[in-house]
Symmetry: C2
Subunit: 339 residues, 2 copies
């Protein structure tokens, strides 16, 4: 127990100081402060300790407590990209809120997807006796689990590894694709294009499955000529737009909001109005784009906050994952003005 | 010292285990592992300890080490918004890279600007004996310092509090405004509009000062009729565009990339080409917008990564802040296709 501060700060108050002011032993202070069950402390002594703690501004040393109890109140969170999009920030936000609710604190490490940094980060977390580790990626994908993750309880967030034995929490891409398509069907569209990504991923296959399921459920024939591959960004959407127009589609489901941003540019250049001439729906709900395009973009949200929160609940055993399959988190529709 | 893991994991290896395998005392293991100066340990014993550490996969307990040394290797980072933009993520990224370089680990807390959460976060950090705290905001502004920050070494990042006595690290808004304007002047423009924010802030006054300085330095008369107030987002830029066109400006400096995105929409609706009819420069370098508008947006970068890294250097005493004024970090130009 000592001070990390420098001269300018109030000196740290120790348990010994509290004992002196309260007129009791250090052991008594420790029992009261740590709320140990079974310790017989008189009401009067207990009150005097509490008064002294308040008067001196004593803070229990969390590290000492961790050591004496043998478990820490840390949960590690490894993220591969926190500087590129707000997605990792949303996972961290959800994980932190849920962790704090249960008295845990997050140790966050950003790895930039660098294996060496990742190993260092996990080693650091293990050295700090974390209760467990959330291992997260900024987009939903299959991963190879770093071996060190098996040295503690770990949960995969926004990623999965089928044979690892580790629980995983991921977005429900199929339901999300169905929801996006349903939004367009419900607005009266029957000829619906899908600008999908060219990148193999659970989002690519899942959203396509959802698109097909929604059409089939509405009795609309699935026409693969209406599915256009595109690089999953503005440029891809822009380049795909002429084919979408040519296909005679009255509505287009875009793989993500960035693709939709490019489709907006493409439609505008040809003088087509959204949603009057062609309705557009995106995916991700990336606020800086979706909420501010003209017109604002209807989309389906990726539930990053919930992924982080549920990841913590699974780690702490508060939520039991179904079987050996990833826990699926729903992607809700966000209705704006483009449908 | 004990295990936080559950049944499935390899049991934690203790110093006692290492001592047994190496055939030395626990004290000897401790001396070797903690690399204590002055301890006389024979080469042979030292080698046997290292071999046993490697064979058993022993990890020193960082918390025990912290307690025995009396200082922790934590730096706290309080952020008000990590889920909204990538800005806080970039500050965290820079702070982490720099902290790790010096053997420190970040404890990150997101507060959503909620004072109660903030107090809890700072208390948690103090309990963990942090070496100090970086207190950061996601946009540059003046703040009132939470009292608890004075209980340890603290550095303000992307914010400042003149009478607090705390060092601050902020972007150089004046230089940034000058740089943006210079980019337009260097491209041959003389009649340059500035769509500034309506929100009072260091960015509002600093960028305007920089704009005026650059014009004056180029011998261009400053015409306040060319400065247009706008809400600092796409909608504001869109609404200001007719006045910008009417002013006869051949180039426009936008308060941020979101305003530029709205100006793009406004110019396009009127059939004006960028940069042929009007050149546009933004501010922030928010990648998802600036790198993907059509044409891609030239802008000035907010140096969030550097703010975080320099914040850590100031905290650790590796960089000495100039006087009592905030340390200014340069905002570099990012050249794309809109100028």
């Amino acid at each position: 127990m000592s001070t990390t501060g420098q001269g300018a700060h109030a000196p740290n108050v120790t348990m010994r100081d509290v004992a002196k002011v309260a007129g009791v032993s250090v052991a008594t202070v420790s029992h009261v402060v740590n709320d140990k069950p079974g310790a017989r402390i008189g009401e009067d002594a207990r009150r005097r300790v509490h008064d002294a703690v308040a008067a001196l501004g004593y803070r229990p040393n969390a590290l000492a407590k961790t050591l004496s109890q043998g478990t820490s109140r840390f949960i590690g969170l490894v993220a591969d990209q926190i500087a590129t999009t707000p997605f990792a920030g949303q996972i961290i936000h959800g994980a932190q809120d849920e962790a704090w609710k249960h008295g845990f604190v997050l140790l966050v490490a950003n790895t930039d997807g660098n294996a060496e940094v990742e190993n260092d980060a996990i080693a650091m977390m293990l050295e700090h006796q974390v209760r467990g580790i959330l291992y997260s990626t900024w987009f939903h994908r299959e991963i190879t689990v770093p071996a060190a993750l098996h040295q503690t309880d770990s949960v995969l967030v926004d990623c999965f590894a089928p044979d690892s034995g580790l629980p995983a929490v991921v977005p429900d891409e199929v339901q999300g694709g169905r929801t996006a398509t349903d939004e367009l069907i419900d607005a009266g569209h029957r000829r619906i294009a899908f600008v999908n990504t060219t990148t193999p991923s659970p989002a690519q296959t899942g959203r396509l499955t959802g698109y097909r399921e929604a059409l089939a459920a509405a009795g609309i024939e699935v026409d693969d000529a209406l599915v256009f591959p595109a690089s999953p960004e503005q440029e891809g959407g822009y380049l795909a737009t002429p084919q979408v127009i040519e296909s005679g589609a009255t509505a287009v489901f875009c793989h993500n909001d960035r693709v939709a941003m490019g489709v907006y540019d493409g439609l505008r250049e040809r003088g087509l109005r959204i949603p009057e001439d062609i309705a557009v729906i995106g995916f991700d709900n990336q606020d800086v784009i979706a909420a501010h395009l003209r017109p604002t973009l209807s989309t389906v949200a990726l539930p990053h906050y919930e992924l982080g929160a549920i990841g913590v609940r699974v780690l702490l055993g508060l939520e039991t994952p179904a079987d050996a399959t990833p826990t699926l988190v729903a992607c809700p529709p966000i209705r704006r003005r483009s449908v």
